[in-house]
């Protein structure tokens, strides 16, 4: 009994999957081979995400340390590399409290619901040629749909904690998440339009010129929007320590806290991988047949570094500034990008409906100019609007007393 994938099958192209499927298929029935090949792939991806999260917790602390002119964790292992292991062991052996009056089921579900979608998002990301678990033809939509489960999980955390600050943090988090969802989703439309496909593999192959050059505006909007979606500085009002303790995860301790942190840092890695795939050309590069995974890792690393750089550079914005930034700056920019790219695609495409390398280069030149102009125009438009109108000190005259100031 041996199982062979037909060469015209969608799954045939995936070398790792095919290898496992055919080896296992020699001795076991085909449906078992199918399940085992899927599990092997799932094992690889889960490890990639969780190890990535561990490396990013370490890397972020080291890099932030450098930014702030200090050393960062350096005790455990070479360069402090085993710090994530120490953190996990510590958190696993800490008492895990659930506050009185909290909703038991919802409270316990939250850590699982925050980590699982994150892992699921990697199912459609190709980390070398033809190596996505499932190269769905609706890949971008799958990522957007799965990633929005996180906002439900965050609200569940705030709702079930029976803590006022958790509730405030959750309300803020959801407001920020839904506001930045719109620009992010609109900015990806341009990518989908030029690649004429929602499959991430096809999008990578369409990038004769990386899309961050072809659509710099979309890349900027995507990066800013995703920083907010990940609750990272400068958009981290949802867990502003100086105002609302730790926001929605105030009441989480022990292993649940570890899982929520893993979701936050793993999110950076997964989103960086997606950004690298959609905008930096994913696995494409010299000798991409063999070194695809290396290019993919390098590009992901660059994006992760960018996220850490944002965090180190900008102070936290106020909630009104965050909202204004999304609705009055990023949304119009995403719209401008959409309109410009639509017109360019419409005018530049050939009769057979393809964009050549020259067309992409022309688009890149036009879009760079559009980016500069749009940022200048809309930046100027909201310059004074994002400033919060504080009440001016009033002069109050009290008879018999000298003038006092009331603010």
């Amino acid at each position: 009994m041996s199982c062979q994938l037909a060469s015209d099958s969608i799954l045939y192209a995936n070398g790792i999957y095919r290898l496992v499927y055919e080896i296992v298929g020699v001795v076991l029935p085909c449906w078992v081979a199918y399940a085992i090949a899927g599990l092997v792939f799932a094992f690889i991806l889960v490890n990639a995400v969780l190890l990535g999260a561990a490396v990013i917790t370490w890397g972020e602390r080291r890099v932030l340390g450098r930014f702030q002119n200090r050393v960062g964790p350096n005790r455990w292992g070479p360069f402090g590399l085993f710090q994530p292991v120490a953190d996990l062991v510590k958190l696993l052996t800490k008492e895990d409290l659930r506050p009185e009056g909290s909703d038991r089921v919802v409270f316990s579900l939250v850590p699982v619901l925050m980590v699982a979608p994150l892992i699921l998002m990697t199912a459609v990301v190709p980390f070398a040629r033809n190596t996505a678990l499932a190269s769905l033809n609706v890949g971008v939509l799958f990522i957007l749909a799965v990633s929005s489960i996180t906002s439900v999980a965050i609200f569940m955390a705030g709702w079930s904690s029976n803590n006022r600050y958790a509730m405030f943090g959750a309300a803020r988090a959801v407001a920020v998440l839904i506001s930045y969802e719109i620009p992010v989703v609109l900015s990806l439309l341009g990518v989908v339009m030029v690649a004429a496909s929602m499959s991430l593999g096809t999008i990578v192959e369409a990038q004769a010129l990386p899309f961050f050059l072809v659509q710099p505006l979309a890349f900027l909007v995507f990066m800013a929007g995703m920083s907010a979606e990940l609750n990272r500085s400068p958009f981290d009002v949802a867990e502003a320590e100086s105002e609302i303790i730790a926001g929605y995860h105030t009441e989480y301790s022990g292993v649940r806290f570890a899982l929520i942190q893993a979701a936050e840092f793993g999110g950076v890695g997964v989103v960086a991988a997606i950004a690298a795939t959609l905008f930096l050309g994913g696995w494409s590069g010299p000798w991409s047949e063999y070194l695809g995974w290396l290019w993919f890792l390098i590009k992901t690393g660059i994006i992760v570094f960018l996220f850490i750089w944002f965090r180190a550079t900008y102070p936290r914005l106020r909630i009104d500034q965050i909202m204004a930034f999304s609705w009055k700056f990023l949304l119009p920019l995403a719209m401008v990008n959409l309109v410009v790219v639509t017109l360019e695609v419409f005018l530049l495409r050939g009769d057979d409906g393809v964009l050549t390398h020259t067309d992409l280069a022309i688009m890149a030149a036009i879009n760079l100019a559009v980016t500069v102009i749009a940022i200048a125009v809309f930046g100027n438009l909201i310059k004074d609007r994002v400033t919060f109108r504080t009440r001016q000190p009033q002069q109050v005259v009290v008879p018999g007393v000298s003038t006092i100031e009331v603010s």
Binding site: L39, A196, L338
Partner: protein, 128 residues
Amino acid sequence: MLEDYFRQYGLIAIFAVVAFAVPTSLLAASWLLSRLKIRPQNPTPVKLEPYECGVQTIGGPWNQFNFRYYLYAILFVIFDVEVVFLYPWATRFISFELFALIEMAVFVGILLIGWAYAWRKRDLEWGN
């Protein structure tokens, strides 16, 4: 071919099971550690109070919160529905005629007018 198409979703289903099993198993490991007395688990009434910066908790979590959140939620729904229509259109736009362009321009234009109106009525501002 169609069977292969569904097989991909089968793989995602397997993957989803694994993705949910991993965090759940970590929670189970934590529970097991508390059973084996490696991890402390002795809650007291004071420990179980909702956290309030070290002082006694007064009042519950159910506070009034800002009315602004609803306006953003409504705007979000409007634009998200728009995007649902835009994605299939964008995927095939490269082979569409002029008519499709005008059609979508009208659709997006109506929403943009609404968005400009919201801006004009100062609904996009948090402060007032």
